[in-house]
């Protein structure tokens, strides 16, 4: 039975956000008998309610509250009020996500030592290593049912994958398969196996894809130690005179402000909302926001170096049929500066439906050059580039000077400029991907600009030393012992891999740490 806790109960752990980080941490703590309240800004939609329709699903699940943008990234021009494509709903972005689940490479935890100082970048080594992460990666893979691990077969390749694989073979790429996906390739965990529906981004109506919504959260609720409170938008974290956090203020479903007391607060609102909340919690004691003695809260915003390449062939592909992202080439993920940039990138299959393709192929584009691309939608194949981008202090989340949301909280501004390394990497990837499709007979290829960010990282980063970042190796803020960060904003650097497996692994690890600290009564 799901628990229900009193607002005045100051023994609970309050988690803000129910996505990859928050939902996992909540269940892990509940399994250990720790009382948890998850406050989630969005509503609760169960997976039967998901909609196989891109815009309708977006309306149902996405975070649509206004944000502003600045910087030289194209998103600021094409989607000035939609810097990120992420979710406001119980389950967070794990409802929309595609399921690609990769471990980081060893050197990606040590970028400053491996790549050396890069002008205009704020590189730093993680305070943890791959070796320390490995047991947690293994736990996360087991929890999420990642294909290609634990003897679970990989998913069968769809049409889009077959085109990718044929091109990879022609180009001599060696590591190409249907990926490590947190999608059931066989029935397990009381959930269906993948039915190749092709609407992974719209929420999996079969429940085959892992999402905290129907795995971690109900499991945590079943312990009687977890309450998930939807439609609860946290606007401020309170603290006492000694500087310990004491609870949070949130707007409930009727817009009424409530205070939930807490023994520990863990912030997991994704990398735009988490720093926004810390910055908005400023007080006379913490005039620059909570946990911000380093001045790093909101800085080093990363979004991966992304882009897509679509290609048209003279024969049908039907790329939209089947699992959206079950296809990967890993050969370019290595660090090899001879290519003209540090770090690496992955190629992953990607497909958008016709409505989203029209919106994202070349935003603002019109005329025959644009429409003849769509005319051959059924003959299209596509892939996504995801590579490591450079952290920059200037790339940051700030509170808007005068615009406020319905609760009176300043909205977030997202500033982003590409680092020259990002641009060099993207151009390399565009060239390789076009060559790949040309090799299988593409008649036309489309280097497609990055979409609003689906991967948002780094804005409360982990650091060994307090002056370099916001949290320590356990996601505990350097400044406040009972305040934690539990989402992708902890990332010191972004690596080439999709982030969620690492977010989940860190949350499992953090739960162990919090439990140990609680029983030692040090928090």
């Amino acid at each position: 039975m799901a628990a229900q806790f009193d607002l005045k109960n100051d023994g609970v752990v309050v988690i803000i956000g129910s996505g990859a980080g928050g939902g996992t941490l909540g269940n892990e703590l509940a399994q250990k008998g720790i009382d948890v309240v998850i406050l989630e800004a969005g509503a609760r939609h169960e997976y039967e309610d998901f909609i196989n329709d891109e815009w309708e699903s977006f309306a149902q699940l996405a975070w649509k509250d206004k944000r502003t943008t600045s910087g030289d990234w194209r998103v600021a021009k094409d989607f000035p009020n939609l810097p990120a494509w992420i979710v406001k709903s119980v389950g967070g972005s794990t409802t929309h996500w595609a399921g690609a689940s990769l471990r980081f490479q060893e050197h990606e935890f040590k970028t400053l030592s491996t790549y050396g100082k890069q002008a205009g970048a704020n590189l730093l080594d993680w305070p943890i290593s791959l070796a320390e992460m490995e047991p947690y990666y293994a736990k996360a893979e087991a929890k999420m049912g990642v294909t290609g691990t634990n003897d679970w077969p990989r998913l069968p390749g769809n049409n889009n994958f077959k085109v990718l694989k044929a091109g990879a073979d022609k180009l001599g790429y060696k590591e190409c398969h249907t990926g490590n996906m947190a999608i059931n390739s066989v029935e397990r965990d009381d959930r269906n196996s993948c039915q190749q529906t092709g609407f992974c981004f719209q929420g999996c109506k079969w429940g085959a894809k892992w999402s905290t919504l129907y795995t971690e959260i109900p499991k945590g609720e079943a312990t009687g130690h977890l309450e998930v409170r939807p439609n609860a938008m946290v606007i401020k974290i309170n603290h006492d005179a000694k500087g310990k956090v004491t609870g949070v203020v949130y707007a409930d479903k009727d817009g009424k402000l409530q205070e939930q007391k807490a023994r520990i607060v863990a912030v997991a609102g994704n990398s735009i909302e988490s720093p926004r909340l810390l910055l908005n919690s400023q007080s006379s004691k913490f005039p620059h926001g909570l946990a911000n003695s380093s001045g790093q809260v909101g800085k080093n915003y990363m979004r991966h170096t992304t882009g897509s390449v679509y290609a048209v062939f003279d024969k049908p592909v039907h790329m939209y049929r089947g699992t959206t992202m079950a296809g990967i080439i890993r050969d370019e993920a290595r660090h090899d500066p001879s290519r003209g940039f540090v770090g690496g990138y992955e190629f992953e299959t990607l497909s958008l439906g016709l409505p989203f393709m029209a919106a994202f192929l070349n935003p603002g584009g019109w005329g025959r050059s644009f429409t003849t691309a769509l005319d051959h939608y059924d003959n299209m194949a596509g892939l996504w580039i995801v590579g490591e981008d450079m952290p920059r202090e200037e790339n940051r989340i700030t509170l808007h000077a005068d615009e406020k949301d319905e609760h009176g909280m300043p909205i977030a501004d997202v500033h982003f400029d590409d680092h020259p390394n990002d641009t060099a990497m993207r151009n390399h990837a565009y060239k390789q991907a076009s060559a790949l499709y040309d090799a299988v007979g593409a008649t036309r290829t489309f280097p497609t600009p990055p979409y609003p960010s689906t991967h948002n990282l780094g804005t409360n980063r982990m650091s060994e030393k307090a002056e370099h970042g916001v949290v320590n190796k356990h996601g505990q803020t350097h400044d406040i012992k009972n305040l934690f960060v539990s989402d992708g904003s902890q990332f010191t650097t972004g690596a080439a891999e999709n982030p969620t497996l690492t977010i989940v692994s860190l949350a499992i690890r953090q739960a162990d740490y919090i439990a140990a600290q609680m029983s030692a009564r040090s928090i």
Binding site: N52, D53, W55, P156, G157, N158, N159, K162, V163, A166, C194, Q195, Q196, T197, G198, F199, K205, W206, K315, P316, V317, H318, Y320, R321, G322, G353, L354, P355, M357, A358, A359, G364, W366, G367, R368, F370, T371, L374, D375, Y377, D378, N379, V440
Partner: protein, 176 residues
């Protein structure tokens, strides 16, 4: 209210001449734009029907898909008439925008220009204007989000109710 009438009986050639043909395909009758060939009509409430007819042509010139009938462009722009009915500023934006295109086109107006290139040249001139941005921006969703046009592009849409593609060709590619 804008109404799209489906399945109107095709007008006879004589009737068509009587009503006065505007451009190749569309006929203005009272407050309606009618496509005699395709048997549909669209009634406007705020915008002039001539404006609506030109707007339909503009929509096609912005996103030209030769295999997509006018009807879907008409549906895609009819929202401007609805907005215009509620918002005088929007009405003025559209009426002025179209009038401006007509005057740039000279005698015969925008729809009188025979080649797409000629019309596109005018659109390119006004590409940065709020009028163009409003029309183009709206179309991205209102044209491509019509379920009825998806099959024309070979997009099959919703698949859950049919059991996904696991038994319906997710891996049926043969030419590789």
């Amino acid at each position: 209210m804008v109404t799209i009438y489906d399945g109107k009986p095709g007008l006879s050639r004589r009737e068509l001449l009587k009503r006065g043909s505007i451009g190749a395909l569309l006929v203005i009758s009272g407050s309606a734009v009618i496509s005699p060939e395709q048997a549909w009509g669209l009634e406007t409430s705020a915008l002039k029907p001539e404006t609506m007819a030109t707007l339909i042509q503009v929509a096609r010139d912005i996103y030209p898909h030769d295999q997509v009938p006018d009807k879907y462009y008409a549906i895609a722009v009819k929202g401007h008439d609805e907005t215009a009915a509620k918002d005088p500023a929007h009405k003025e934006l559209i009426e002025k925008g179209i009038a401006d295109l007509d005057s740039k086109a000279g005698k015969g107006g925008y729809r009188g220009l025979g080649w797409e290139e000629q019309r596109v040249a005018l659109l390119t001139e006004i590409e940065k204007t709020p009028f163009f941005q409003a029309v183009r921006g709206g179309l991205v969703v209102s044209l491509y989000n019509q379920k009825e046009v998806w099959p024309i592009f070979g997009y099959e849409g919703e698949s859950y109710s049919k059991g996904g593609y696991i038994a319906r060709g997710f891996n049926d590619i043969e030419w590789l």
